[in-house]
Amino acid sequence: MDAHVDVRPDGVAILHLRGRLDLVTAPRVKELLAKTVAEGHPRLVVDLAEVSFIDSSGLGALISGLKAARVAGGDLRLARVGEQGRVVLGLTTLDRVLRPYATVEEALAGY
């Protein structure tokens, strides 16, 4: 799993992830999301275009990030979720709180 964060001039942080968001990588992603919020960037967009697979641990990391962002007055939005990611979000109905945006730009709109 590769991960890096771009912070935009307006303070929104975009996390670009690549690989599988799973049992092995979820702790690292959870930590990165918490760190980004703690550094003053509670408005998050997670770009999942390069993520091939999300399991329940990966979902847990995203939920953890969502909670941290909300507590700090921000939000966590998912962009470019792959087919398998949409399947997992749909099976858990978590797509109601982690609504997938088609593009990063759409996720950024109104932030």
Partner: protein, 168 residues
């Protein structure tokens, strides 16, 4: 039996494809399960008359990974002696199946639960950050069985039919 739709497993159509994987049940080896699934789909593209729906592949693969995760986390928890996990992927004319066996600790299968949003009244701060694997597997599959035999072998069976059975 945990979840079953109307079809019966009593009659067994011909086995079209089977592959077996044995790995050490540790998180770092789970990539091998992904690779086994990829090889399995490639085989099915050759032996089935038409390509399986992508949604079905993704649901089945997602459930297989969740059960593999479960075995790695619960049958052989951190600190215990490492053990093996065997996965058999099978394709019959009307379904795909995955069978896991391991000789780790017994698993106490919880009852089927509603989705986290339904059970927690929609509160985001109350959403669980772990424990959703079985919920996902159950939702993705048509049938999920778990048994532990007298000799201490855990057996999981995952079934996904190719199409919804006709309504009666």
């Amino acid at each position: 039996m945990l979840r079953s739709r109307r079809r019966s497993l009593a009659t067994r159509p011909p086995l079209l494809a089977e592959s077996t994987l044995v790995i050490v049940a540790v998180p770092e080896r789970l990539a091998a399960v992904h690779e086994a699934l990829e090889r399995f789909w490639a085989t099915l593209d050759r032996v089935l008359p038409s390509r399986l729906q992508e949604a079905m592949r993704l649901q089945f693969a997602t459930a297989v990974i969740e059960i593999a995760n479960n075995i790695v986390q619960h049958a052989y928890p951190p600190g215990s002696a490492p053990g093996l996990l065997q996965l058999q992927l099978r394709c019959y004319a009307d379904r795909v199946e995955a069978r896991f066996t391991d000789r780790g600790g017994a698993y106490a299968l919880p009852p089927a639960l509603p989705s986290p949003l339904e059970s927690e009244g929609g509160g985001i701060m109350e959403l669980p950050e772990a424990g959703m694997g079985l919920l996902i597997a159950r939702a993705a599959l048509d049938r999920l069985d778990y048994q532990r035999d007298q000799r201490g072998t855990n057996r999981w069976r995952l079934v996904k039919w190719f199409a919804e059975p006709a309504e009666h």
